[in-house]
Amino acid sequence: MMMHSESLEPRDPAVAPEAVRQAPAAEVDDREVVPPFVENVALWSAIDAETARMRAMTAPTGFAARVLAGLDRR
């Protein structure tokens, strides 16, 4: 027996209790706080040493002369 005319509404907990119960849980998942980034000290020590070496790189010897020569070819 139909209790009232709104009982077929999907949002009605009497008709769709599972969906109603799941919705708040999904929202909580969306708001879940991401754990703070904890740096791996040993890894970053190795990376920092490598980037320091990269920072010392220079353009190849004679580069400017090659560019100037390239201007003549165009």
């Binding site: 353009a59 400017a64 002369a65 090659r66 560019v67 100037l68």
Partner: protein, 191 residues
Amino acid sequence: MPVDSTASSLPPSDSADLDQAVIDRVLAGDRDAFGILIERYSDPLYRHAHGMTGSADVAEDILQVSFIKAFHHLGEVRGRFDAWVFRIVANGCKDWLKNIRRTHLSYEEDDQPSGYETPDEELDRGEIRRDLDRALAALPSSLREAFVMKHVEGRSYEEMAELLDTTVGALKMRVHRAREALQKLLEDRYS
């Protein structure tokens, strides 16, 4: 005439004045004066291109094409030459990355040339360097660019913001995300 390559270490306004004086000479017909600008800025720009592409040969090619393009459009410089030529090089790197990724799109994951280096270049590198290049290659170009500018080129966030026309806060976030991603990619090997 000896090459003056000191401008890159001067305050921006002094450096810009020196650059403009050279630009005026080049535009007046002194083509070789362009070599002064190349000498001043090729090292930091080379580091950028090398960090972005992971290859010495590709970095040199991009830099050479960029300087030639800069020479032919020198009359269009408005503002700082170093920022202007940086954008040419940075765009060259991004275009190259787009092309190389498109070229290798159909490859299996293991076949992708993550560092894009030649076999000889790869042999010359240490293990951490190879792993770092591969991990950097896996990052989106905006994160890779921010990490390279901060940690390889050693630029300040303020300088990066000016060159990339964005905010210090956005760049700090990009570097942070890059570090998180790199750690995730490398942690298993170096834990």
